[in-house]
Amino acid sequence: MSFSLWPSLATIAPEIGLTLLALILLFLEVYLPKERRVWIAYTSMVGMALLALTPLIWSPPVGGATAWGGMVRHDHLSQVFKVMILLAGSLTSWMAIDSTRLSKQGEFHFIIVIATLGGCLLSATADVIMLFIALETTSIPLYILAAFHRNEARSIEGGMKYFLYGAFTSAIMLFGLSLLFGFTGDTSFIGIAAALSANDGLNQISILVCMIMILVGFGFKISAVPFHFWTPDVYEGAPTPVTAFVSVASKAASFALLLRFLAAVFPEGILIEGQEIQLFWVNLSAAAAAITMTFGNVVALVQRNMKRLIAYSSIAQAGYALMGVTAMAQSGESAVASVSFYLFMYTFTNLLVFAVVLRFAAVSGSDDIRAFAGLSRRSPKLALAMTIGLLSLAGIPPTAGFFGKFFLFTAAVDAGYTWLALLGVINAIVALYYYLVVVKVMYVDRSADDEVLIALPQPVSWLLGVSCVAILLLGTIAVEVIYDWTRLGASSFISALSAAL
């Protein structure tokens, strides 16, 4: 295969752009006087928002292509996810403007840009070596960011936990990947699948062990039960914008990779010792989905702290998305599209909720749920934004979350997992309960500070406004455009895979 530079550069246009942006931010940090450093945040925010256009400008060919020696895929699925991750990065920088401790920290934005870079690569990975490098490029910056408030015990604790868990699960995953390489002699996803289906004397148990070890790594990144223990502590301790970024961008990239990895490496029809190997991960993922969403929602019921509540809710949300992963084996395209759409709308939803939490904590100094009492009197706009965010998390129309859940349930029922879909809707009701409690606290309960109004600075109001509009549009008229786009990504991904095998 001959190598041509220009077309190859186009496949990683966002990554190149992010590297340049990171360098620019470093220079700005040096040259700007301290009081004007908020411009770093604006540069980072606008830069990433503009870069979100690059995957659309250098659009992939129909059916996608593999570039850089088989390391990255350039297809519509990566297009969807790269746009999503870049938007998440941009909104995170935007959100950080509201934080007095972060807005003027050049290195904060620099590290966010690097983590976004890792996320973009992760969503386009087609090779286990690239997988690990991209995974670490996302993770290591986030370990640093989680502990960014160096003089705050909670932040340090969160960062430390995140790092230890992350390092441990990465190691296990790496071990699994090297075993897989040992068994098959190849590092590309397609190559591994080809070697597996050639099947010269492979042992069923060993492949299963490999798969489980690799899934441990994924389980950590998407915070699936039982690898979720870091989530509440990190969410609570880390600076709020970082929490937001971890909960959306890092999770979205990991889901993209999970879809790619499972569909490409263990496709249908690979029999090892007479056993359909695809069934392993389908059943594992169904079980993980069921346990993750149930656990997340049940534990969220008893939370008193807003960030911990969102942490457990995000565990549950990962469980819903895993439902789509499970359905992928049977209903392919619609399942992949449903996961992509879910994460797309989740990006805006969760960022919106965290933006509200950040603003509120900046005024009241607390993220206790009870402190939100009377918010609708203190700032009707903030309360309305929070309500829209929570309703979207709960999946109530006309917000985007309704469609997100609807697509997932449809994919699950279509794939024959009606029981999982039923469990999913029951969980959605449990979740609705604790979201409604928050809404009730904001609208019904009264507090001593009822009369103390909360001011909304311009950047925050715009951030809230943009996210709310995005959520409402995704839940009504824009849904077709975005869903068809994710569907295009899914179909190009699935058809390229079936062509390659």
């Binding site: 109530i396 009701i429 609208y443």
Partner: protein, 572 residues
């Protein structure tokens, strides 16, 4: 451009929706402006609904004639009847990949419901005129609620129906939780929301599964042929493919027998309809207050502010019954034939038990709350007859009970607002202070007892008659024993339930409006305002008009019911 060219149904849905959004942007202190916007939106929607209703009513004879001359040999008679009955149709593609469209229309069943929604919405805004605490939020959420309710009744796409159904639930929660009766509101609002949502999301999964089964059916040879024929006959748009949430297309699948094929999930005696009918029907019937899922209802109604009680008992409970009829009986006819013969037992419990509990209450509002449970049982009972008479009665009962209950709750609210108590024994003699309310309550009470000349009689009599007719046809198998004629026993019990109704209505009327007036305690109680009188007239007059002149609604409902009956007859 004439009035008919405007997308009228969309105008009805979006007027309150936009009014709600506008209200949220108005300064919270300008309360009169807020009320003005709300009442204008509600009145515009009511006028448009009335226009729709009466123009549909003018066509009813033609529709009925077309229905009776329908080609019985056609493979899709019932679907044709259903599609021909739809008027003021609007269809826009929404999410074509998944066969979801914004498809709205009215037919003989939904037109009265739309009119009812319009009436109760106007009455609700008027009776909330004096709400002073956060008027802006109250009116905005009330408008959203009304928009959602309108949407459900006009949706001809199952997805759209769910969309509006769930859209209505959140505003309802927040209205009850924030402006409700302090002692009960948090508990009751949460209970109500969770009950209703659990039912509806299970039904949602059922409908998704239904669409997937229909899709498989349309891919089979027979199904593809049927779809092709239906497209050629102009029933479905040329772009229709198998996967669709459109009700016409699902009705076609039901008529083609897609849901009654045995071997579902690999079990020989299981068909899709048999498995899913109870889940879908009862899932929606939760909102209609079917026993044993009625528990949310009395608490919810008592806790809600008056306007919300009115719209909740008056319209939302019908919304559950309506959706259960549409997605349950119409789309899964063979399931209805299997399961309604035992579900009827639940409805008789509703009727009798609800009435008995209502009799025992001391709280004025609880009486009405339980009476709603009792009367809604009659609606479900009408469905269970599965014949034209009974189902038409159910349709009439939905309208009649809606207006009647809204009137009741309005009366209760007016008394409570002035007397500050709802304890029946301590009230008394209010006819002297509030003659209008007393008259309105008596009219409502007589309606609820089924007094001839009022709408309750027009509605309940056909239900009983339908039960009696069904008694010879429907039998029930229990452990190898076939039970015949038990519908007759049930209908006798139901008639006894009406006697209990008469007892509690007379008791409440006697104790609240007549008897000794406690001058010391209620010396500052005054008469109701002009606005309140308008509410009583708006809701009371239709009860009398419909009772005196049933031809204004009964034939229309019959045209709406006939497609359902036709599909039931073919769905054995």
């Amino acid at each position: 451009m004439t009035l008919l060219d405007i997308p009228l149904i969309s105008a009805i849905i979006f007027t309150p929706l936009f009014a709600g959004v506008i209200i949220l942007w108005i300064d919270g202190e300008k309360k009169d402006l807020i009320r003005g916007v709300a009442i204008s939106a509600a009145v515009i929607a009511l006028v448009l609904s009335a226009f729709l209703y009466f123009s549909y009513n003018a066509q009813v004879d033609q529709i009925a004639a077309a229905q009776s001359s329908m080609d019985a040999e056609s493979p899709f008679t019932a679907t044709q009847m259903f599609a021909d009955g739809l008027a003021f149709e609007e269809r826009y593609s929404w999410l074509s990949t998944l066969g979801i469209s914004y498809h709205v229309a009215i037919d003989g069943l939904s037109a009265p419901m739309v009119l009812l929604t319009g009436m109760v919405a106007v009455a609700g805004v008027l009776i909330s005129w004096n709400i002073d605490e956060r008027t802006r939020e109250f009116m905005a959420f009330f408008m959203f609620l009304v928009a959602g309710v309108y949407g459900v009744f006009v949706a001809v796409d199952m997805f759209l129906l769910f969309f509006f159904y769930e859209l209505a639930i959140f505003p309802m929660y927040i209205l009850i939780a924030t402006w409700g009766w302090v002692k009960l509101r948090e508990y009751a609002s949460m209970k109500l929301t969770l009950y209703i949502l659990v039912g509806s999301v299970i039904a949602l999964i059922g409908v998704i599964a239904m669409v997937i089964v229909a899709d498989e059916f349309y891919r089979s040879e027979a199904g593809a042929l049927l779809l092709q024929d239906a497209i050629e006959a102009g029933l479905l748009p040329a772009t229709a493919d198998g996967f669709s949430f459109d009700m016409v297309q699902l009705t076609l699948a039901a008529e083609g027998g897609a849901f009654r094929q045995f071997g579902y999930l690999g079990y020989e005696t299981l068909s899709f309809a048999r498995l899913w009918f109870p889940l879908i029907f009862l899932g929606f019937a939760v909102l209609a207050g079917v026993f044993p899922f009625h528990n949310w209802s009395p608490d919810g109604h008592v806790a809600a502010p008056t306007a919300v009680s009115m719209i909740h008992a008056g319209v939302l409970m019908k919304l559950g019954a309506y959706a259960a009829l549409r997605s349950g009986v119409q789309l899964l006819p063979s399931g209805a034939q299997t399961h309604l013969p035992w579900i009827v037992l639940l409805t008789i419990i509703n009727v009798v038990y609800g009435a008995l509990i209502a009799f025992r209450q001391r709280d004025f509002k609880y009486v009405i709350g339980f009476s709603s449970v009792s009367h809604m049982g009659l609606v479900s009972m009408g469905f269970a007859t599965m014949n034209v008479t009974g189902m038409s009665g159910a349709g009439l009962q939905m309208f009649s009970h809606g207006a009647m209950t809204a009137l009741f709750f309005g009366c209760v609210g007016m008394v409570y607002d002035r007397a500050h108590t709802r304890d029946i024994p301590s009230l008394g003699g209010f006819v002297r202070k509030m003659p209008w309310v007393a008259v309105a309550f008596i009219v409502g009470g007589l309606t609820s007892m089924g007094m001839p000349g009022l709408s309750g009689f027009i509605a309940e009599f056909p239900i009983f008659q339908g039960m009696w007719q069904a008694s010879d046809v429907i039998s029930f198998q229990l452990g190898g024993v076939t039970i015949h004629n038990y519908y007759a026993i049930i209908v006798i019990m139901a008639a006894l339930g009406i006697v209990i109704t008469a007892a509690y209505v007379l008791r409440v009327t006697g104790q609240v409006f007549f008897g000794e007036f406690n001058q010391a305690r209620f010396h500052d109680v005054g008469d109701i305002s002009v606005v309140d009188r308008a509410v009583l007239l708006l809701l009371g007059i239709p009860l009398i008009v419909l009772g005196m002149y049933p031809a204004i609604m009964a034939p229309m409902i019959e045209t709406g019911v006939l497609p359902v009956i036709s599909i039931l007859a073919g769905g054995v």
